[in-house]
Symmetry: C2
Amino acid sequence: MAASTLTEVARLAGVSPATASRVLNGSARIPGKDIADRVRQAAESLGYIPNAQAQGLAKSSSGLIGLIVHDIADPYFAAIARGVQEAAREQHKMVLLATTVGAPDSEKEAVAAFAARRADSIVIAGSRTSRAEDLEGNTELAAELDRYCRNGGHVSVIGHGIVGAAAADGYHVVNVPNEELAAHLATELATSREEDFVIVGGPEGLFTSDDRIRGFQRGLASAGLPAADVIRTDFTRAGGFEAGLALAARITASQPGTETKRLCIFAVNDVMAIGAAAALRSQGLRIPRDAAVAGFDDIETLRDFRPALSTVHLPLEEIGRQAASRAAGPSADDAGSPPITGQVILRRSTEVAHPTSAESVA
Amino acid sequence: MAASTLTEVARLAGVSPATASRVLNGSARIPGKDIADRVRQAAESLGYIPNAQAQGLAKSSSGLIGLIVHDIADPYFAAIARGVQEAAREQHKMVLLATTVGAPDSEKEAVAAFAARRADSIVIAGSRTSRAEDLEGNTELAAELDRYCRNGGHVSVIGHGIVGAAAADGYHVVNVPNEELAAHLATELATSREEDFVIVGGPEGLFTSDDRIRGFQRGLASAGLPAADVIRTDFTRAGGFEAGLALAARITASQPGTETKRLCIFAVNDVMAIGAAAALRSQGLRIPRDAAVAGFDDIETLRDFRPALSTVHLPLEEIGRQAASRAAGPSADDAGSPPITGQVILRRSTEVAHPTSAESVA
DNA sequence: CTGAATTGGGAAAGCGCATTCCCACTGCGT
DNA sequence: ACGCAGTGGGAATGCGCTTTCCCAATTCAG
């Protein structure tokens, strides 16, 4: 027994398919009360479930919203996904998920798949890149998106526009003030301290990473401090760990008596910061005693990470929600949603050393 | 300019739509090489993207696999989602996401929505419940699933079958040996210790929770120990925290000199364990010195949680993958995938007190 | 060299629904 | 009492694609 169709319902109710369609879906014309009840009852007794594919085909819209992330199990993306999901629920749409590992060509594929399914809108999360090796991929991705937009699709990308994407309408960017926030973090961290700053960043060309690095340096500069060293590594926990190992070596090497300043490590995202912290700990170093560490994003995982990590809070869920609704809304109040703002949060990981022993006496 | 259609491609290539369809999709009949090339080229130049809705309508299958979780940002579900996503990619399908907060009626809705979209299969994660207040919802959910299955859908639920679901074919359960593993954990923990055991469980009726509680008690019993107290609370971090607070009070109360055994707390999942640990810490208690804590699941978050939490490792990703492919496969080798197994992992949180001071001397 | 078995392409009938027309029927005004 | 706008339902068309069926052109056996 295949799923029952509208026609069957209509027949059972003794009306035409047209009428049945009108009562079961919000049509402009609402049939008479009595007949409507008959149809509804027939539908109920048949356990009728409208075929969304057919509906979509007929009205060319699918009630689908596509979400592209690097990795759904990454807390950063998971939080955004939650927001998108919420927005989708409000719009009575469903979320179609695609995970790419950040590879533009795989993102392009995802866009094509979404386009094939006639997704009403697409949300792309995950940092954009301007690396040379991604150039071709980016171009293709941009082309695919452009075509999607021209066919009436809506795209909203989180953080930074796609390189080479024309400013088609239906194309939105949810801006995240990475640079400003990083600058702010730097100035906060620079206050009344004497530390050497080091930045643990992602590969060159990753916008999110680059923006945060630039901002942080600017913050330091405005505080009258010299630019920080930058270690380039993977934009992952593993990358952070690796950098952390290198830094640990540097710290222990300079330890002996010499009056070196404490190291303050800024990792451009929280998972990297966690990795770095883990590396330091694995080398017997303690935070914040032997080094300060700060991250960025304020992912949920941080809640139970010790020492409590200083970071920049980003309303991840809200970002996801906004991306999803910005793309969906009939461009409703283009400035309808407030711009994304973050917040520097200083926690224990960057506290100044306890004024114990020597210092407190001195 | 709307997306180009198969017909347009066919016209441009000078063939019939039928032929175009045959070459652009894996049909049984493959047209001649020359003609195929013409078609492919036409498709390429037009940037043709097949309309998946129409395809689905025509062959009544959608290339969609529905995933139902409580909360996509929960690391437990996120890990499963990753597995499902991977399996989906292998099957060249896309994942449709639905988050319910564990409410059966909202799960029912999700199933209906998936059915409407003619999802090829549905994966349901998240503990089943047998609570009285969910009875009605469960029945409806079961009915909905049953209908979905009868219409050719495939369902696989993780952990424990839906209450009241008929054993329709197309209905699979990925079994997780919760009870056995919990028992195993208990015996491991019971070895050469003198501790009071306490179980922090979810609300009564949650199968996952109940199974683990039962298993743990059985393990204790087989080790000749008395049954542990059970604290019922929410199946969340907050629930764990609350219970942790209560336990902290109990510990500090009995602290003074009295020769009380150390408390060993088994939380039925990791997030609850984390909550409990956080609560203890907030009260100035230290793990494992003042109490031992163990969880279940081995979620990724644990990697960076200190003290390292003892737990039972579950191959979450594999579980998700298996659920997705079990449902998809043409029942291929019904025993094709190996049963899920877990592994007790003892870490620092349940170590016996350091044989320092008193004890080592004595 | 002819008839039968293939082969390869096209025509056409849906898949399940939305929607535009179109028609029969009311109720109103003058 | 007649015509008119207005109302409520049905017939038919099309969304874009798959697939069965059919027919012309080959090919091969006898």
